[in-house]
């Protein structure tokens, strides 16, 4: 699991998640991921196109990151999930807290909405 942060503008970052976000990786990525998101003070669009596997432990990490951003008045929007990752997100009814859209443009539009 790795994540890369790309600045989009002074209000939003794109965070690219690559690999698996599950019991094998959450422990190592949790602290740097949440710290990076919190320190930026920006909203974030999470690029899931290269995320191969997501479990409930991974969702908990995404939720706690979204919680930190929300406390600062920002938003987190997910985009580009592979079909099974999208199925897992849909099964958990996360639309209100971690909306998932198809493309980065749609994700940025959701941030502005």
């Amino acid at each position: 699991m790795k994540f890369d942060v790309v600045e989009i503008n002074d209000k939003a970052n794109r965070i690219v998640l690559t690999g698996r976000l599950d019991s094998g990786t959450v422990g190592a990525v949790e602290t740097p991921f949440t710290a990076t998101i919190a320190a930026s003070g920006r909203s974030a669009v999470l690029d899931l196109t290269a995320l191969d596997f997501l479990s409930s432990l991974g969702i908990r990490l995404l939720l706690s990151a979204a919680r930190v951003v929300s406390r600062r008045g920002g938003k987190v929007v997910l985009f580009g999930a592979q079909p099974m990752v999208a199925e897992v997100l849909a099964a958990m009814a996360l639309d209100q807290v971690l909306p998932l859209v198809a493309t980065e443009d749609e994700a940025l539009a959701r941030l502005a909405a």
């Binding site: 019991s23 479990s55 432990l57 099974m84 807290v97």
Partner: protein, 135 residues
């Protein structure tokens, strides 16, 4: 058929998943079925690691996976205090102002499973059996 002994600790889950995914490839399961199998195994094993109550040191769980007709059957046997995943409370939809996010793993298991059985396995052990569509 794949049989594994999985120690009750988080790092062992990734190894079990790798073995399950390799088995699924050989058994001809598609990517969706393989994902669901690895996911259900993780959720059940992670629950044992994080919430299982054991008398003394936890013995490794016994896991098996088998292809059966158009389905894959995952069986996990554990020595934790009995916990019926079918009876677990349904979690509320997650909210950003509520830190209590429990029960998501079992909710996922129930969503993914075509069938879920639970009962005693003898010697105080429990047996959870999950049927998944192999398509």
């Amino acid at each position: 058929m794949l049989r594994l002994e999985v120690p009750i600790r988080l790092p062992a889950i990734a190894e079990a998943q790798a073995a399950i995914e390799a088995w699924a490839g050989e058994a001809g399961l598609g990517p969706a079925a393989t994902y669901r199998l690895a996911l259900v195994a993780e959720e059940l094993l992670a629950n044992l690691v994080m919430h299982g109550r054991f008398a003394g040191e936890a013995p490794a769980a016994r896991l098996s996976v088998e292809a059966e007709g158009g389905a894959a059957v995952l069986v996990i046997e554990d020595a934790a205090a009995p916990f019926d995943p079918r009876a677990a409370a349904r979690p509320a939809a997650p909210r950003l102002d509520d830190d209590r996010i429990g029960g998501m793993g079992l909710a996922l298991v129930r969503k993914m499973a075509a069938g879920l059985e639970y009962g005693p396995a003898g010697d105080g052990w429990n047996r959870t059996s999950i049927t998944l569509d192999a398509a």
